[in-house]
């Protein structure tokens, strides 16, 4: 069974803080993704990575950066959190059969 874990289920941060969201997978998948989910907007891709140290911007990369130093770990960084980044953040991996496996999500609130 693929396991995708995220470092926090719930997080509350203040405006301007630097925020790190970590994602770890145990299935040796090459591709990893960060999405945010907002009501009425579905899942929107922030960044993805297809290999260690490789990253590509998704649809909404502004205000975010990512890091992939090891194959199993993909981190999302909010350089200076803002209230409009309050959302649920989902990490995912991709199998060879194009199935994405998601972590449980991190509900981030920025006050």
């Amino acid at each position: 069974d693929v396991k995708v874990t995220q470092s926090s289920r719930y997080l509350v941060k203040r405006t301007g803080e630097k925020v790190f969201l970590e994602c770890v997978q145990d299935m040796d998948h090459e591709n990893m993704f960060w999405y945010r989910q907002d009501p009425g907007l579905g899942l929107r891709l922030i960044y993805f990575s297809y290999d260690v140290k490789m990253k590509e911007k998704g649809d909404i990369p502004e205000g975010y950066s990512v890091s992939r130093e090891k194959k199993e770990r993909f981190s999302l960084i909010l350089e200076s959190a803002s209230t409009n980044q309050t959302s649920t953040y989902l990490c995912a991996t991709l199998s060879w059969s194009y199935e994405q496996y998601f972590g449980p999500g991190t509900r981030l609130t920025v006050t």
Binding site: V4, R9, N31, F33, Y35, G40, L41, G42, L43, R44, L45, F48, Y50, E56, G58, L90, A92, L94, Y98, E99, Q100, Y101, F102, G103, P104, G105, R107
Partner: protein, 112 residues
């Protein structure tokens, strides 16, 4: 621009009846589609998929139909059960599969 669209944000169905969730797409280059199910406070989980070489794929109570000419797919759940109450997303991978497009989701409520 939304390339995968789910125009119904919510759907309510009686237990035992059929649930039909719809999805439209705009890009004729999409050749593979997936449905995901999401419970509150959990990540989406893969439900069923269909390749563009087929027009139907069935897995137990779940069937996905694809109409390529109309750029439309639908997920049928028969019979619907209260445990099916969740948000359903349709999705399509694009290019090398590194980019996925998701619909906005349909929240299904199955009434006991």
């Amino acid at each position: 621009d939304q390339q995968v669209k789910q125009n119904s944000p919510s759907l309510s169905v009686q237990e035992g009846r059929i649930s039909i969730l719809n999805c439209d797409y705009t890009n004729s280059m999409f050749d593979y589609f997936l449905w995901y199910k999401k419970y509150p406070a959990e990540g989406p989980t893969f439900l069923i998929s269909i390749s563009s070489i087929k027009d139907k794929n069935e897995d137990g109570r779940f069937t996905v139909f694809l109409n390529k000419s109309a750029k439309h797919l639908s997920l049928h759940i028969v019979p619907s059960q209260p445990g099916d109450s969740a948000v359903y997303f349709c999705a399509a991978p694009f290019l090398t599969g590194n980019q996925f497009y998701f619909g906005t989701g349909t929240s299904l409520t199955v009434i006991p």
